[in-house]
């Protein structure tokens, strides 16, 4: 009964592969769209691919839900005793299924892009369809020939080998799906860039069209990364959320490039600048998403998150990447002369100069992550010695760099396009400057002497105040012009200046995230103590008392649970129950941390081995970490506000004289 269904799944993805190739062929054969029938056929093929992949995805999820162990992929990654939620999320818990999720996203986003821009971009459409369909075919060929999730097993196993215990967490339901949406989202801007370069028509239209796709992909990627950090924070349990693991770095690379892109696109949109640079960034961001895929799935680098690796897959993805790179950068080199922009930066005190500095810093950061991640491989190939480039290196180098980006983030929106009188700039910066000095004094009073700590506190205060002041000025200008009250003005400023207000809100969210990272990173308190029942450790004004250790079991694991009472001034205020679990089927142990969140920070407990009647308890006080998650929500709110901006493009020509409200 289930067997034919699975066969249909395999058939669906094979047909999708053939249709993707057909779509690309038809689009290319449409004589730049003059042969309308072929172009329509190509479009319909793209839509059919999306439908087929949705069907395939549904069949695979169904196979997991009904525990159809005749499917090899299901047998390897599921189990009868697995809770239903994890059965569903196990669909993308390993290599094959996660690739199918990727292809499905690409199918749906391609269909959406083709439908949305069908009228707007008729001349680019053949190239957009061809690019997206070829990328899709590249992924589908990998799935069909080298990683087929629908492959079946000959003797039906009685039970599955279970999902990797580290993935048996609600986090798996959000992190990969959102992260992949971000990765895949950058394929659409890539297709537009290819089209613009093929047509040697490199004005501003493609950038305007692509802006929201970039913002969408960036928002998803940001959410995926932060969600991954949150997952690591409570599941992997060492009090941190970012380990600078190669796979984590793989997601940071396109994020940094995509952040640079989102900003430099503004300059092209508004000032016709950075055209060559934007084309480069679009191609580079897309290639970095492929590099990430390669690093995660090829086994070239060792990583905690790496999928089961296979050199054939690695070789295929590498070849795919080389083809994409040849096409993308080849086009860029070929069309460079027609892309070079004529406009220069007029003044160092202008939005253009700020965006340029922003791009320089973000690209340096991206290069450091790329080179730092690949560096051990280079050293190994050159000297045969194996080295590590890990958290201590990246923290040392990246923290100052990102603080620099934050300074620019504070300055940039306050400065208008083209130029600004120096005295006005000084006036605007007076309030944030004062806040920065107060923060510096507070840091010194708190006893901080480390240069990075003090710089971080100063810059966070500066950026927060500058961003809020920008928001305030926008509202004040509305209130003045409209003669209305503040509430109305705030609403008007928000709804009518969605792009600018959205951007400022995202900036404020990033300041919050930065504050949370700095707070938890530099002011973390920790206690490693051997506790016997009845004994307590003191941390941040709390007493953490071990009451006892007991056995506990779950559907597919056994474990130990430590009961901690949290006391403040002698009274119990909470109970925390960290666990250690052992998953028999995979022979793996996991640590479940207990977290008590409050506004000022998190109390974070896990325990290690028992040692002569005592447990080794790791107790952390992570101050301000909640700001990271809060900041993420603010970023989301700002992104959505910006995304909802009315589609029609209002084109205002920037005035030569600086206006009172910094024109976006």
């Amino acid at each position: 009964m289930d067997f034919p269904l699975i066969r249909l799944g395999g058939l669906a993805i094979a047909t999708a592969l053939a249709l993707s190739l057909a779509a690309a062929g038809l689009a290319l054969a449409s004589r730049q769209g003059r042969d309308a029938a072929r172009l329509v056929a190509a479009r319909n093929a793209v839509l059919a691919v999306a439908a087929l992949l949705s069907f395939g995805m549904a069949i695979l999820i169904h196979a997991f839900v009904i525990s159809d162990f005749s499917v090899a992929y299901v047998a390897q990654n599921s189990n009868l005793s697995l809770p239903v939620l994890y059965k569903i999320t196990a669909t993308w818990g390993a290599h094959e299924g996660s690739l199918l999720l990727w292809a499905w996203y690409l199918g749906v986003l391609s269909a959406a892009a083709v439908l949305i821009h069908w009228r707007d971009h008729p001349l680019s459409m053949p190239w957009i369809i061809a690019t997206l369909a070829l990328v899709q075919a590249g992924f589908l060929a990998l799935i069909v020939f080298l990683s087929n999730p629908f492959a079946t097993l000959a003797p039906l196993p009685p039970d599955g080998r279970d999902l990797n215990p580290l993935l048996q967490d609600p986090g798996l339901a959000f992190h990969p799906p959102v992260l992949y949406l971000g990765y895949v989202g950058f394929a659409v801007p890539f297709a537009f860039a290819v089209a613009a370069m093929m047509r040697a028509h490199v004005g501003t239209e493609w950038v305007s069209a692509v802006r929201r796709w970039v913002l969408f992909a960036w928002t998803a990627l940001t959410s995926g990364i932060i969600f991954g950090g949150y997952w690591a924070y409570y599941e992997l349990g060492w009090g941190g959320y970012w380990a600078w693991d190669p796979v984590e770095n793989a997601s940071l690379m396109p994020w940094l490039a995509g952040t640079a892109l989102m900003h430099s696109m503004m300059a092209q949109d508004r000032r016709h600048m950075f055209r060559l640079w934007n084309a480069f960034l679009v191609v580079a961001t897309f290639l970095l998403t492929l590099l990430g895929t390669f690093l995660v799935r090829s086994g070239v680098l060792t990583s905690v998150h790496a999928f089961a690796t296979d050199p054939a897959r690695g070789g295929y993805i590498l070849a795919f990447m080389v083809v994409a790179m040849g096409a993308g950068f080849g086009l860029l080199i070929w069309r460079a002369e027609s892309l070079e922009s004529d406009a220069g930066v007029e003044s160092p005190l202008s939005r253009e100069a700020g965006l340029l500095a922003n791009n320089v810093l973000l690209m340096i950061a991206a290069l450091i992550v790329v080179i730092g991640t690949l560096f051990p491989l280079a050293v190994e190939l050159a000297t045969g010695d194996k080295i590590s480039v890990g958290a201590p290196y990246f923290n040392h180098v990246m923290v100052p760099l990102m603080l620099g980006v934050m300074v620019l983030m504070a300055l940039g929106p306050s400065v208008p396009w083209r130029a600004m009188p120096g005295d006005r700039f000084t006036r605007i910066m007076r309030l944030p400057g004062a806040a920065a000095l107060v923060a510096l004094a507070a840091g010194l009073a708190m006893g901080a002497r480390d240069a990075t700590t003090l710089a971080a506190m100063t810059i966070i205060a500066f950026a927060a105040t500058a961003t809020l002041a920008d928001i305030g000025r926008a509202i004040a200008a509305r209130a003045r012009v409209g003669g209305t009250g503040w509430g109305r003005a705030a609403l008007a400023a928000t709804l009518q200046g969605r792009r600018r207000m959205g951007g400022l809100i995202v900036h404020f969210g990033m300041v919050l995230i930065g504050a949370g990272m700095i707070g938890s990173g530099l002011f973390q308190q920790a206690q490693t103590v051997h506790l016997r029942p009845g004994e307590a450790a003191a941390i941040h004004g709390y007493e953490v008392r071990l009451d006892g250790v007991e056995d506990t079991t779950g559907p597919n694991w056994q474990g130990k649970l430590a009961r901690f009472s949290i006391l403040r001034d002698g009274a119990v205020v909470d109970t925390m129950l960290p666990e250690q679990r052992f998953y028999e089927l995979r022979g793996m142990a996991t640590t479940e941390t207990a977290i008590r969140s409050e506004l000022a920070g998190d109390l974070y407990i896990f325990f290690g081995d028992e040692d002569a009647g005592a447990v080794v308890a790791q107790i952390y006080w992570n101050p301000l970490i909640g700001l990271v998650w809060l900041g993420w929500m603010v970023v989301l709110a700002g992104s959505f506000l910006s995304l909802t901006e009315a589609g029609a493009l209002r084109r205002r020509v920037p005035r030569a004289q600086p206006s009172e409200v910094a024109a976006e």
Binding site: H201, G344, V360, G390
Partner: protein
């Protein structure tokens, strides 16, 4: 997770009644911050990108035991790191030593910053060619208007 929360809540309500009056507070050993700082720079050799502080593997656990012993014996940081490096190689150090084969990585950020700074100044000085953005900037329909003559 939810079950644990409910259980925790129930216990939080029930426990104050049962709580013993006296609690012995155990202080962390004074060396622990130093041990943590050191452990963060050492890679767990059998895991992947984890330090021995973060790893739950038994090898990392035993390395932590050795680290504590060496600290208790009064060994210096350099000596302790060298102990592990002489056994597991440079791989065990999460940040490559400046004098080792990967030391050049420390020059990466200064080099890129100098290059990026130079590029920024060079672009700023290319100020001559200021071009007015045409007042009638092309709209989206331009694609269609430009027709099929491409």
């Amino acid at each position: 997770m939810i079950r644990a929360l409910i259980l925790g809540l129930a216990l939080a309500l029930a426990l104050p009644l049962a709580a013993p009056a006296q609690t012995a507070t155990v202080a962390e050993a004074p060396d622990e911050p130093r041990i943590r700082a050191l452990a963060q720079t050492l890679r767990c050799p059998v895991c992947q990108s984890e330090s021995i502080l973060e790893s739950r593997s038994s090898t990392a656990y035993e390395m932590m035991v050795i680290l504590r012993e060496m600290v208790a014996e009064g060994r210096g940081d350099a000596e302790i790191v060298e102990f592990f490096r002489s056994r597991y190689g440079n791989y065990v150090m999460l940040a490559p030593p400046r004098n080792g084969p990967g030391g050049v990585i420390w020059l990466l950020a200064p080099t890129l910053l100098a290059g990026g700074g130079g590029f920024f100044l060079w672009r700023l000085r290319q100020r001559g060619a200021v071009v007015e953005v045409p007042a009638q900037a092309p709209t989206l329909d331009a694609e269609q208007l430009r027709g099929t003559g491409l």
